[in-house]
Amino acid sequence: MEALLVPSLAKIDRIIQETPDVRTYRLKFKDDSISEKFSWQPGQFVEFSLLGSGECTFCISSSATRKGYFDCSIKRAGVVTADIHTDLEEGDDVGIRGPYGNWFPLDDIKGKNLLFVGGGIGLAPLRSLIQYCIDNRGDYKDFTILYGARTSADLCYKEEIEEWKKNTSIKVVLTIDKPEETWKDNVGVVPKILEEVVKPEIANTKVITCGPPIMIKYTLQSLDRLGFAPKDVITTLEMKMQCGLGKCGRCNIGSTYICKDGPVFTYEQLKALPDEF
């Protein structure tokens, strides 16, 4: 068991400051043989350890279709993430275990319209899937990304969003909560924009959403109002996790282990779980 909990070393290739409190760490394994074996699906997560400070769970925010590296976007929140932000520099070593968890139902969404609804750092797990889908663009129909943040400074992946905007086959809708002078896009919270601006097609559409709990709550309500079936709404959950192996019991909700049976759930599955998250 202890052997399963030992991380492998990875090197920080690049650090990208996304917003004042979010940084993206581009990682490469030091050992090439691990690097070759390491493959993941969009939606899976890794245990990222800063040796000496502890372990944290982060989703992989890049797609396996872009080879040779993987990204973790980390928001400064607790003690370990604060240490990660202050201590780590490009070229430093960190420990990585994983990938763990399930992934977005890639087969189910094939041939469907896709609507991504993200808020704040919640775009990170979606980005993995977005990249995957862009790389396999032929498999999917309409492609809409709705992304909101508190202020324009809090929008992650700005460069990449610009690229997506240039891509004519993708519809990108950005929004921020409060008006700003230089801001030309939409203003308003995500659920409102979803109903008033995006006006998604209901039939043959899958919605993939992730964001802060309060956003998820209202987005799910407005998706309900728009008439989406709960099984067509996919989200990823966050719980405090430590082992990622289904042993430590921390992420238990009912008889479900979020780290093994999740973190990706459909709204239908979520409804069946006890109200404890």
Partner: protein, 351 residues
């Protein structure tokens, strides 16, 4: 497959124990400050295999240590390196004497969670490499309720050799597994005789007397169903109002298996440990962002009792609670999971 039963007397048992201790790595309950804990022993005098159940700690730490090292690391300017701590060095089978039946059952139950998906080979290896000598209780403690639960205590096969006291100072040694059978045959002296039908009858009688001595009896059959229906019941709050959230119950429970991972670092080197944690702890589910799914005491209690009686059964098909009553005995305010569960199961349904 049936296994053999041997008859001996107290002296014979002592001799057997002594022989085992001299030959194998042996663990047995050792008294310290009035409490028995399983420790490595080098002579029979140090330990007491007949220790009272109420005063004996669980045998779990021998399989799932209170703190185990995951790895050591070094991070200097020259580079980072990680050293795995590796597997236990095993030299022949180890023997544990005087294990309580409920405790042994606890180990069997824990196998399920350690075997699914990622396999905890350390736990399973330790289990495979251990010969468990039990001691069947003659009388139930005030907080025990093991006979009420979903396992057959009388013919439990979680242990290798059951030691049962019979009338007139006789002692029965019954092998329950192949490992136990072989071990007994190797180590028993000549004076012990193979048991007859009479021995089995007397063991049964002893069990019946033991089963009759229980104060607590649970109507187990539909407890799971009742509890899952009463998820939102206020009964949890009522039954656990005087809990002081001290975590003792989880630390001494033979089946609690939640753990945490923590780093200890001094300058450039450090060790990562895996150690016990308790779901009754406020910080157990507290996330870095400040969100806590279970901030209130009764919600943590609900998680604990539901996990013991409902969730684990849903997932792995066995009841996690083994009814040893240790939590109630050690609890400073004597809250028994038995009472909580019964209180909830008997509560009126929420509309």
């Amino acid at each position: 497959m049936s296994f053999s039963t041997f008859v001996t007397d107290k002296d014979g048992l002592q001799k057997l124990y002594e022989a085992i201790i001299s030959k194998h790595e042996t663990y047995a309950p050792v008294e310290k400050f009035g409490k028995y804990d399983y420790k490595k022993v080098s002579s029979l005098k140090e330990c007491d295999p007949d220790s009272p159940i109420a005063m004996t700690m669980s045998v779990k730490p021998l399989f799932f240590p209170r703190a185990s090292k995951i790895m050591k690391y070094e991070a200097t300017s020259a580079g980072t390196s990680i050293h795995e701590t590796g597997q236990d060095q095993l030299s022949g089978p180890r023997v544990i004497l005087g294990v309580k039946h409920c405790d042994a059952r606890g180990l069997q139950v824990l196998e399920a969670v350690n075997k699914w998906d990622y396999i905890d080979s350390d736990f399973l290896n330790r289990r495979a490499n251990t010969v468990i000598f039990s001691k069947r209780c003659d009388k139930a403690d005030t907080q025990c309720f093991c006979t009420s639960l979903d396992y057959d205590l009388e013919n439990l096969d979680a242990l290798d050799v059951a030691v049962v006291s019979g009338p007139g100072g006789k002692v029965y040694l019954q092998a329950r597994t192949e490992k136990g059978e072989n071990f007994l045959k190797e180590n028993l002296g000549k004076e012990s005789a193979a048991g007859s039908q009479q021995a089995l009858d007397e063991m049964k009688k002893q069990y019946e007397a033991f089963a009759a001595s229980f104060r607590l009896k649970m109507d187990y059959k539909d407890v799971n169903e009742k509890m899952s229906k009463r998820f939102d019941s206020t009964a949890y709050e009522e039954a656990t109002r005087n809990c002081v959230s001290c975590n003792t119950c989880a630390f001494i429970c033979p089946t609690c298996h939640c753990f945490k991972i923590s780093d200890e670092k001094i300058k450039d080197t450090g060790v990562r440990y895996k150690s016990y944690d308790s779901c009754n702890n406020v910080y157990f589910t507290l996330e870095a962002g400040g969100h806590n799914p279970r901030p209130a005491k009764y919600r943590r209690w609900r998680q604990r009792s539901m996990h013991k009686f409902v969730y684990y059964k849903e997932r792995f098909g066995v009841n996690l609670c083994v009814g040893c009553g240790h939590c109630a005995i050690s609890c400073p305010v004597n809250i028994s999971i038995f009472e909580v569960v019964n209180h909830v199961a008997a509560a009126p349904m929420e509309v």
